[in-house]
Symmetry: C2
Subunit: 214 residues, 2 copies
């Protein structure tokens, strides 16, 4: 399933790296452990990192009801949410052709405040599950005060695209014979050994001990 | 050495996580393998991921001379560059108090096009060294055509701040006795085994085999 390109999401440079494939876009969104929310106030840009979650074709953001970014976005203004995963360092013979392997997504649109209690609860659950799949089974659910003091926004994933670079360096023909090492150094995100709070007696849950991103 | 807070960089929420310490800010910039460049065109926001490098008190960005983001920024408009490192997942007893450990930096200002050839060369060298320290010793230097077709921008790191969360979950007093595991799952960026291009005969350099971020 392909999203429809727009003036903002069509790839101007290196269009062969671009994609409107929904599965690819959703995979990047689901793997990432933060997004960058861009907005403008009086024409001046802000980029704020935060956690996100996807449910169906919507991206959810949340935070304290007093949160500057969320209150601004809830005021019906344009946003650009960008997500980037860096997969490798690409070393070419020439300094010029050095590059990085990456997968990124940009989503444009207007976010809306989620008012409906069931959707709000589901979004907050999705946010916890996005970060630690399995956690909502154990964690103490939000109470009414917590729900009231949390702002949740929904951004439909409609105007969005991905950009992906994979593979080795692309050197100029005349540089290929230079006696210089060239190749790719892969990058992965690694999850270490969990450290429990001193007073915790419950065992480390499986979803923590064997933590893995989708 | 402390940077001077401004209306844009002063921390509105959780000010105890905020910092204007230059060493802390520079450390985050130097460790990160990408930044997010925000700008607005006709009041509509864009957030574009790219690589950066710091030299002294300046941040450098670069790309093809035709690059949309760089050409826009070179037009003397405001930018916000945000850098984020995610250090851990913080699992609280309550869903509400789940959090993440992170270090982030926001830099506001206007970038300027670097015209002076020596500064331009130095910036491009800094960009390669930022990603792979030691690499400029080996890589074939940029030639005149490559220099001409590359746009380099300088953003002074003056209006900037950091935000950092560390440590375990902060649960409500009444939740502490719940039989729920709580703690931190640390996250690190890991560099794997380099794979050289098929036709490369040069050995894997030390700076690749023993790659480490600052």
């Amino acid at each position: 399933m392909q999203l429809t390109p727009t003036d903002r999401t069509r790839h101007r440079r290196l269009p062969k790296r671009g994609s409107f494939d929904r599965d690819l876009i959703y995979g990047i969104i689901d793997e990432a452990l933060h997004c960058n929310v861009g907005f403008a106030i009086d024409g001046r840009p802000w980029v704020v990192p935060t956690i996100h979650a996807r449910a169906g074709d919507d991206l959810y953001l949340h935070g304290a009801a007093a949160n500057h970014m969320l209150r601004t976005l809830a005021g019906d203004i344009e946003t650009c949410v960008t997500i980037t995963l860096v997969d490798g360092l690409v070393l070419a013979r020439s300094a010029f052709h050095h590059s990085m392997n990456y997968r990124s997504v940009m989503i444009f649109g207007r976010a809306e405040r989620v008012e409906e209690p069931r959707e709000k609860r589901a979004a907050l659950e999705a946010l916890v599950e996005h970060v630690v799949p399995g956690r909502t089974r154990d964690a103490r659910e939000p109470n009414d005060t917590e729900l009231r003091t949390t702002l949740v926004l929904r951004l439909p994933i409609v105007e969005a695209s991905a950009k992906v670079r994979t593979g080795g360096p692309v050197d100029d023909e005349e540089d290929l014979a230079l006696p210089i090492w060239a190749g790719v150094l892969p990058i992965t995100t690694t999850f270490g050994t969990a450290s429990g709070e001193p007073e915790v007696t419950a065992p480390v849950p499986d979803y923590v001990a064997h933590y893995a991103r989708p």
